[in-house]
Symmetry: C2
């Protein structure tokens, strides 16, 4: 059979980092600073075990039987309450549905809003699976460069004028993946206003929002949303468990209606047992203490990685100083290519994700790369940065 | 904001049975013969509880952390082995990935194969969420009528000639939803041959395949697939638990590669804890005894519903006699509309799904309706069929 695939899926090319990941998988002695996984210490296994035991005893059948597409009603309510209390979001004019991890929201939003060939604007660099999701429904995905305050307003305005049918702007304003940086309050206001004027919906992705370990919270764009143009995408992956695949979307009710249709066709509903686990945890456990613990772990690991970088690397390499989240972003001097560099570093024993992986066109060379500090132990962070520094000396010469 | 949604999602209309379902939800005294849920007695809650306990104790972190898109490798292997042993499928030239329930396979298959406007052919009637999935990626969905042996070959041939870019044929050959009927071996061979000649891929959906409670198994179409044109979609919902959302796809390797890209963008991976549960169950529990138990439950309930129908209904109404699965299909005389009839019956106290819900265009009147025997108790089956018989007498007069 001569297989012919859809134009949409054919537009998504296999990732440039595949070869590096293969090298890492084949050689467990390579230190990985490449994943985006939460720290294992941050997962409250005992609490989840305890809650699970209770569910099996009290609601075994219900937790294993078919459920509703919109999500488990108590968890929808708990989520709404938290969005109001923690993120200042108006939950009167919006509704919440439960998704199969934050990733499903990134996929379903362009599915319901975007026709093939319509434009989705994204930060450049941005989350690779967010880009894949938009491409796989046929969007013309266009990256907009960032500065210290976030996505550049001048370039955003220009893209809105020049690109065809701009329908959606995808943003990770807080502790951005991969840069680890946070959009300023003023930039959030300006971006919101520009989108409002141009009738463009915003997909605000906030998987790391509760992982601030320094400084003051900056209001979500959704909390400014009087016009109903913001679709807020959240996740319980970073504060409870990623493997359970529980996320949520908060959006204006007409948008939610369409998302429910998309989800009915997409996967019927999300694992109901873990929706119950999640709800119970956020209702009846000491969540503030738990979140404070996670923040402490990441503050500690981030600071440790920063001090290792300070000690080991010379000033031809620069990096961001995150106030939260899982990542920092290192830049080689202009003209160097982090894909070549990542291959060299993997051969020497440390793996990370080269910047091209976060570009809309991953064949564009990029001098920067992403480092993760949440997953590795401090011992491996120290060793990994040493190897990185060796590789820098060899590569930059 | 004046919301403009994508053409694809706009083509999916809210279901015609919404009003009936609202009536049922508002009035718990209505007997429901409408769901497609497994019998609660068929879910091995104790085994799942026991396995879960073991996972929490031995692999707590791993079961709650991020995992790979393709699925938990041991479960992929277990699934392959079962596909070979139980369904005679060649697993040398095919690969298996784990999906978020069978529904995700129904969605991703047209996503990777079909451009907007290309044609997907389906049995008429067919599974409503299968139709929604194909429509929501922009397919031109065309229903083909069935006879006693399955989808009609003459009409299928005609549709292949007349419709634009026919890419995919979606079939539920065994214990079809909603009809409960099974495609004959000869028809399977003829349909396969016709598709092979015309370069059309087949999506063989087999969620009920292990629920045969009478007669001999008929080989899957996938087991005849020498050319790699069949994508086999399976599910653990009916033999273990529907709420956990674990399904799988077995397909030629180039197709699997594209499905992995679709799944990465769609939901990253499937709940890993329940992938482990599922794998452990099929490896280390007495699965033949468990399946035999489920078959016994459904044989008993199906036979009971058939005997109630025989006693209560006059011969203006006819129905199918399933050899397995969850459903049977009742037909009023031509010219009557089962949507009207379902409304009347719900008012009298029994709910079921009118045939129009399983049509590609659900505004087409349909004289038939679907009855489910797996979910209700025998007491409720008896009462429900009594009310149904009253409603028939009133409606047909």
């Amino acid at each position: 059979m001569n297989y012919v695939f859809s134009d949409n899926i054919s537009s998504v090319r296999p990732s440039a980092i595949r070869e590096i990941l293969k090298m890492v998988a084949a050689n467990p002695s390579i230190i990985s600073l490449s994943t985006g996984s939460p720290s294992s210490e941050a997962i409250p296994v005992d609490a989840i075990h305890e809650i699970s035991e209770k569910i099996f005893q009290e609601r075994g059948i219900e937790s294993l039987q078919y459920s509703v597409t919109e999500g488990y009603m108590p968890l929808r309510e708990t989520t709404k309450q938290r969005l109001h209390d923690v993120f200042g979001i108006d939950t009167e004019n919006n509704d919440v549905i439960i998704t199969t991890g934050g990733q499903q929201g990134l996929f379903m939003t362009p599915l319901v809003l975007v026709n093939r060939g319509d434009t989705v604007l994204v930060e450049s660099p941005s989350f690779v699976s967010g880009i894949i999701a938009a491409k796989s429904v046929g969007a013309n995905v266009v990256g907009i460069e960032m500065d210290e305050e976030g996505i550049r307003l001048d370039l955003l305005e220009q893209a809105i004028k020049e690109q065809k049918n701009v329908k959606l702007l995808y943003l990770i304003p807080t502790f951005q993946n991969p840069r680890g940086s946070t959009m300023s309050l003023q930039r959030r206001r300006d971006v919101y206003e520009l989108c409002r004027k141009n009738g463009i919906m915003i997909l605000e992705d906030n998987p790391y929002g509760e992982l601030r370990f320094r400084g003051e919270d900056i209001p979500t764009i959704k909390s400014m949303d009087k016009e109903g143009i913001v679709i807020y995408n959240g996740s319980y992956s970073k504060v409870l468990s990623a493997g359970m695949r529980i996320g949520f979307i908060c959006a204006p009710k007409p948008v939610i209606q369409k998302l429910i249709i998309a989800k009915q066709g997409g996967d019927c509903h999300t694992n109901i047992f873990f929706q119950m686990v999640c709800d119970e945890f956020f209702r009846n456990y000491d969540v503030p203490a738990h979140i404070e613990k996670i923040r402490g772990i990441y503050r500690d690991k981030c600071d440790f990685m920063l001090s290792c970088l300070d000690q080991a690397l010379d000033d031809r390499v620069t990096w961001t100083h995150p106030d939260g989240g899982l990542f920092l972003w290192c830049s080689l001097p202009e003209g160097y290519d982090s894909l070549d560099f990542a291959n060299l570093a993997a051969q020497k024993g440390v793996a990370f994700v080269p910047g091209c992986s976060f570009m809309v066109n991953d064949s564009d060379p990029c001098p920067a790369f992403r480092l993760n500090y949440s997953t590795p132990s401090k011992e491996n962070i120290e060793k990994g940065i040493q190897i990185l520094a060796d590789a820098v000396r060899e590569y930059l010469k």
